[in-house]
Symmetry: C2
Subunit: 352 residues, 2 copies
DNA sequence: CTGAAAGCGCTTACAG
DNA sequence: CTGAAAGCGCTTACAG
């Protein structure tokens, strides 16, 4: 039996209203009452219960994050921005993890309609306009991250654009057989990136060859794994005529792809997508998504929406930025670098 | 204004009790009423509010995870086990993220005493017995992960033992100057691992040399980063006489350490700690912690505790397991492997 | 500065 | 199968 406001009131010889005032920092309480109540509360282990407070106030001071697959680099970095920003507010964070095995819409809808939080930040969930529209009826503040819908505030990155630019970079450098490592076709970002890749080739008067667009066979995390990237690169290198450059759907896959190149002793320049922490460390060139900023922006939007439910809907679309590191060195430059490396390492490491 | 049970009752021409029954799957409702209510609810966007339900039932059907630094490999893997297990129950998950910058005890206490959840799984939080004891007064189900206290159910891994065994392995293999890459000394697991390392040396009649126990200078995530591992290994390799083997505080640091070895052209066998997903991929030998199992066990314990608050407190301590991969090859074996590798790769990759 | 009372949106015996 | 009513633990005008 946990202790309630009544227990404290009784013990302190005051009404529950006074106890409540103490915990709500109302200044209309005598110093004497306040001290006594606080002391009693401490001793008896009392604190207002979140649920009762929420009901009485009709406010929970909670923001809910709704996200599938938490163990994902994109989410981890977005989360850091979110935490940073929410720390400045008086809201608490709550994370609701959607299971990919079940009906995703149902889970999101359930979570939203229960009304546990004052606002919802929905990350990397992709619905049809019709579905998003259906959520509208619960009349709850929602901000979308990594997705776009006319119905809600959103912050996203132009994936098509990013893929386009990465591919265009290779075209400008004179590469002829530019491959793309994709992922499961059900992944929305992957679809967009494939579109951007194709468009860049077409705008350059070339054709996208289906044999050069491959994914690995691993399906975990929609293919966003090292393993999947490794498998994909193996396929590419097994082609009668292998590609001379590769745009890769994600950094995590690119890391696997690089390992495949090493195992096969073939090197082609590669550009990843995301710019996760590993990438800089491993010298991977990539299309950088401003993940932290996206997280911060999302909190800013949801807070605005909570304070001003009628405000105009706003969309922020970031343009990804090409970050060049050593993985885009030309084969010649790479050979030279490798030679230097091997000289230094004669008879030594090269682990995996 | 969101729609409540009263709106539905009125519209359906029944009492709120009947509406409530429909949503609680009580079978004492005529098919006619049920259909009408469900249909109305769907149309009007009604669903029982979590807070009101929680208050009335005195149950939230929520388990709260309390964790510092979410973006951490250990946590990610534990989380997968947790999600797996909780999916089989009718509880929802809720994650409360502790900020390392503020008073941790205060945050944990706050979160627990607000009573939002029915049970709390506290991960990688390290307090004194006195502090844990203080939490006892809120009389709430709590399970500890990666920590031990007599007061609460817990699931942990014997870090001392793990470090001992890793070190002992190197001793048995005949290595003479076995180094250890540690991390920030405020990290509890790190303290334990250093103890185990020292003890193994001492039990073999040797001394732990302080110059051989080093951490990098990066303080992010308590030193559990590639960068920190890289820095640490650089220090070790800069020693007048460098070590001939290395036990490393975490896999993530070990990956950085390996890169440092490659950059320096010096190879020594290394054993990491954790067995994160990358490790298998990169051929890193490691002390494996059964992270998924730990997550599953934690949920099992908290559920038991919720159902049976008076039950006997139980502690599960896993013994970590040494997983040998290519990073513990002897220098000779490694040299041979490298030679083969280089032959295959003549004039080719070796990225970063 | 303080208390009595209404209300937040539900659930759940109890009685029929 | 259904409704009236009490109760969950708070907050917050209102009146003093």
């Amino acid at each position: 039996m946990s202790v309630t406001i009544y227990d404290i009131a009784k013990e302190a010889g005051v009404s529950i209203a006074t106890v409540s005032r103490v915990f709500n920092n109302s200044n209309n309480v005598s110093e004497k009452s306040r001290t006594k109540i606080l002391q009693l509360a401490k001793k008896m282990g009392y604190h207002p219960q979140a649920m009762a407070q929420g009901l009485a106030r009709k406010k929970s001071k909670l923001i809910s994050l709704i996200v599938p697959v938490m163990s994902n680099y994109f989410f981890m970095e977005v989360l850091e921005g979110i935490q940073e920003k929410i720390g400045d507010s008086d809201f608490d964070l709550n994370i609701y993890n959607v299971k990919l095995s079940d009906d995703i819409f149902e889970q999101v809808e359930y979570s939203v309609k229960r009304g546990m939080a004052e606002g919802y930040v929905i990350i990397s969930v992709h619905f049809t306009e019709k579905q998003w529209n259906e959520l509208k009826k619960y009349d709850v503040p929602i901000t979308l991250v990594d997705e776009y819908s006319a119905e809600f505030d959103s912050v996203s990155v132009d994936s098509i654009d990013g893929a386009y630019n990465a591919t265009q970079y290779f075209i400008e450098q004179g590469y002829q057989r530019i491959a793309m490592i994709s992922a499961l076709s059900r992944s929305k970002p992957t679809q967009d990136r494939v579109s951007g890749y194709k468009r860049a080739l077409e705008d350059a008067g070339r054709f996208a060859l289906s044999e050069l667009i491959v994914a690995g066979d691993s399906t975990a995390r929609d293919g966003f794994t090292e393993k999947n990237g490794y498998e994909a690169m193996i396929k590419l290198l097994s082609l009668p005529e292998h590609p001379d450059a590769c745009f890769c759907n994600s950094d995590i896959q690119a890391i696997g792809a690089i390992k495949a190149m090493q195992d096969h002793g073939i090197y082609i320049p590669i550009i990843g997508y995301d710019d996760i922490q590993f990438s800089d460390f491993f010298g991977l060139s990539t299309m950088r998504q401003p993940m932290r900023e996206m997280g911060e922006m999302a909190i800013e939007k949801i807070l605005n929406r909570i304070n001003n439910p009628g405000g105009k809907i706003s969309h922020t679309v970031y343009a990804p930025e090409l970050v060049l590191r050593s993985s885009t060195l030309s084969p010649a430059a790479m050979a030279e670098k490798s030679a230097r490396f091997k000289e230094k390492n004669s008879g030594k490491p090269v682990l995996y």
